[in-house]
């Protein structure tokens, strides 16, 4: 992406509301004309969850959905930063930086989009769904979680649920659910969009490869800045042009053939 088309802005934006949609899973809605105007599915914002030195660094969140001038973040409370963000109230101002990263590449000759999300990695899928529906793509969404109480199918369409413990839907991993689907249905030209834990993405990329389906993956990386400055979030490349790409500026979305997942 050339730098001239970036629209990165740092701003204090207000919390519209906040709710706990499942156990430990929160939706925080924020108002920003800038972010809702310029963000695309797959991009993220870097959020200062507190205002002191604990936590020190921003936390990256993919943009889950955009509605008018409101954007949604969906996240699990996993540590201090997410706990602080989850405790913000209506009207509180949140320091955000974004939109950051390269969006999903939704172009290509396909009729059906297979959206595959594991756990809270599925956060960017509603935003992607909106965009793909506008492109008149048929959508199948494979959503997996450890257990039924960790599933949030909000704003997703064509749901195929799977749980590791079998408490709802297909008993097994989300990638196994996709494999089963592909073994039974292959009428359309397809493209896969995956987001979730690295191990799941690795399995997903292997399935896409063996089935010959194009596959876009959204990665997570430990990053400090989110803007390509700290060099903290390398992912190994396959092409040999250079060893690493940075997840924050060359991703977080990649074609599955571009990168090596470990």
């Amino acid at each position: 992406m050339s730098e001239s088309v970036r629209h990165i802005e740092q701003a204090l934006i207000p919390v519209v509301d906040r709710s706990e949609i499942a156990e430990g899973i929160f939706v925080v809605r924020l108002r920003s004309q800038h972010l809702t105007k310029y963000a695309s599915p797959g991009q993220f914002i870097n959020v200062r969850c507190g205002d002191g030195c604990l936590p020190l660094l921003r936390r990256p969140f993919s943009i889950s959905r955009v509605e008018g001038d409101v954007l949604e973040l969906v996240f699990n409370v996993v540590g201090q930063g997410t706990r602080m963000l989850a405790s913000r109230k209506r009207g509180d101002l949140v320091d955000v930086l974004g939109p950051l990263g390269i969006p999903f590449n939704i172009s290509g000759n396909y009729e059906a989009a297979l959206l595959v999300g594991g756990g809270l990695g599925a956060a960017p899928l509603p935003f992607l769904t909106d965009r793909l529906l506008r492109e008149k793509k048929r959508i199948h969404t494979f959503l997996g979680a450890r257990s039924a109480n960790q599933l949030t199918g909000r704003f997703l369409v064509g749901l195929h649920i799977s749980t590791d413990d079998g408490s709802k839907g297909f008993h097994g991993t989300v990638v196994d659910a996709l494999k089963k689907y592909l073994s039974e249905n292959k009428p359309e030209k397809m493209k896969i969009f995956g987001c979730g834990p690295t191990r799941m993405l690795k399995a997903l990329a292997e399935v896409a490869d063996s089935e010959g389906i194009g596959c876009e993956l959204s990665l997570e990386g430990d990053m400090a800045c989110g803007m390509g400055i700290c060099q903290g979030c390398p992912v190994e490349r396959t092409d040999g042009k250079k060893k690493y790409s940075l997840v924050c500026v060359e991703g977080p979305t990649f074609n599955s053939h571009e990168i090596v997942l470990r």
């Binding site: 730098e3 001239s4 970036r6 990165i8 802005e9 740092q10 200062r48 030195c53 604990l54 936590p55 020190l56 660094l57 921003r58 930086l97 990386g221 430990d222 990053m223 400090a224 800045c225 803007m227 390509g228 400055i229 700290c230 060099q231 903290g232 979030c233 390398p234 992912v235 190994e236 250079k242 060893k243 690493y244």
Partner: protein, 313 residues
Amino acid sequence: MKESFSIRGVEFKNRVLVASGTFGYGDELRDVVDVNALGGICTKSLSWKPRDGNPPRRIVETPSGMLNSIGLANIGVHTFIQQKLPYLRTLDTVIIANIAASSVQEYCDVLALLDGEEGVDGYEINVSCPNVKEGGLNFGTNREMTCEITAKLRALTKKPLIVKLTPNVTHISEFARAAEGAGADAVSVMNTLIGLAVDIHARKPKLSTITGGLSGPAIKPIALAKVYEVAQAVKIPILGIGGIMTADDAVEFLMVGATAVQVGTASFIDPAAGMKVALGLKAFAEKQGLADVGELVGAMESNVKVSILQSWL
């Protein structure tokens, strides 16, 4: 209000620079912040050949700080000259090329190549990277090597030569004296402290290289003590570095003897942190009724004649 200062005839418009490795090559944030509001930019460390850097994981947050093990990932000096320097020449701020190398000869080669180019105003020599096997700390923890590198580079350039020191030694002031004696125009105090974090569930180090460099507000009191120690030992300017988040932090560094400061980790959180510190520093000096921000340098007063630190040195 006078904000500027000079090193070897190069004038910095204010006393706040951004630290090497925390602001890329100076062009990444051109559409996000006004880099011309900075006193100067220290580039990401440059080596002769490009370096891939260390495998992930490279970053771990720790209380009020972060550990990094980037491993000097950089595009190499040739690509820097080709792709980055043309833009940097258009900026109205001082450009300090930071140089890292795994041999004395490599330091010399990189500096000599840059010295023939317009747009580089001075050099900061990284003899203190804790995250590479060759070079780095091997040089920075060895006084003779620090001397040799400084002297050889001094002979190659008339531009300002700044040596960036590591705190991972017993007496940093001895290394500052060595650099001063070998012809350095200034010293940067300090690089990161070696640190470690453990994933107790996996029983593994969190960083791929086990140890990394600790930065951020967690190290500020240590950095202040190191700057103070060095200020007692040398006459050349000190660029104070270590956990500066606000203008008040910068004032502390000036008061213990830093001529100027570098803002590092703070830029990861707020890319405009350096500019805000510069503005705040000016505002503080104005409020104090000073005519020159430089009046703050060494302004800390104490009734104690000989500090515990000095009696231990």
